[in-house]
Amino acid sequence: MSSIGTGYDLSASTFSPDGRVFQVEYAMKAVENSSTAIGIRCKDGVVFGVEKLVLSKLYEAGSNKRIFNIDRHVGMAVAGLLADARSLSEVAREEASNFRSNYGHDIPLKHLSERVAMYVHAYTLYSAVRPFGCSFILGSYDEDDGPQLYMVDPSGISYGYWGCAIGKAKQAAKTEIEKLQMKEMTCRELVKEVAKIIYIVHDEVKDKTFELELSWVGEVTKGRHELVPKDIKEEAEKYAKESLEEEDDSDEDNM
């Protein structure tokens, strides 16, 4: 296991002698235990894909969603403690709503992610509360500014990305994402690739069944964040499964 804090890790208001805040690092571990979520920005939009592990056959299909709508034009995909993520989605919704009320237009995504990141950061300063145990990816599309993608982690920093992954298979997912030429792709092409990446990084042995959650926002949806329509999603999943089989086949040939 990784290093233990030994006394400097009891509260977020304590630094360790080597300058770390262990509580924040432990919060990031909570994110790494959760299943993977990815977000990729392309030429004309943003696509989110989440590997939602189904822990019991008794669950209703589509319950415990991990992709949220923050405003008409903003979507949020999360990894980590789902209850923490839900609470933060409410914070984000309020920020977006207040901005619209005060300034009369859609909130710019950079500003929204900075505001929510500031909120997350506030919970890393005090011993009376614990940091949020979730990371999330925000995406939006605007005619003038184009597609935008930002990620916020439990330490309260927000970064802009062309593609990012959070959760247990984030390294494997990042490797796959880096292979893509996302700046030249359209949303329709990207949806299939996102589905494929989630299928690739899903661990058949350790985790059982999973549901794929796919959503997008872009020119194809006229700037509104929506779940990908059923027929397009089925096509994407079919493409993903077929790609996996091809790779399996090519492995056999090499024997």
């Binding site: 005060n102 300034y103 009369g104 237009h105 003038d144």
Partner: protein, 218 residues
Amino acid sequence: MSEELLAEPGWLSEEVKTGTTIIAVTFDGGVVLGSDSRVSAGESVVNRVMNKLSPLHDKIYCALSGSAADAQTIAEIVNYQLDVHSIEVEDDPLVCSAATLVKNISYKYKEELSAHLIVAGWDRKEGGQVYATLSGLLTKQPFAIGGSGSFYINGFVDAEFRKNMTKKETQEFVVNALALAMGRDGSSGGVAYVVTIDKDGTEEKCILGNELPKFFDQ
């Protein structure tokens, strides 16, 4: 006789109003704002050279009318709020943001305030825009007029306005409108202030009384 000795001059007791004519017009590529310069307290003119076109940001101005104190205060507050806002979003503010901020104050305090601001400016998303914010309403319009003098020129502006005029034509239109209103409204007069805003910047001009166009008043 005794009543005259007891009568106070208006500026001691009357509320200071910007009697006013204000106008803002969009053209292809920007906006032109115009105002007169008379501030009255009852029958007295307490300031004959007041500039009623107040900057809210580099490329967003507002035209003040109604109670001078109320209008100026709203403009100052929104100027401050837009400063903070533009630093937070790291970009120039949109005209609709400025107009919404003005509208929010005008509506929240509509019982206490008596001011009508016309907000006009240029931003990179929508170009030149004019918003009327009378008593907490917010509408985007191709042009807007306000103040006591505006009643005399409603017919003129309706008949003479055309969309997508050139900058020069719009400036002439604004100056003509102001001159006509100032000629008939007792509460408007003095000089004409004209502000032109487009993507290249903001230009302020002052046209003295004797340089204003003359109509059938030789």
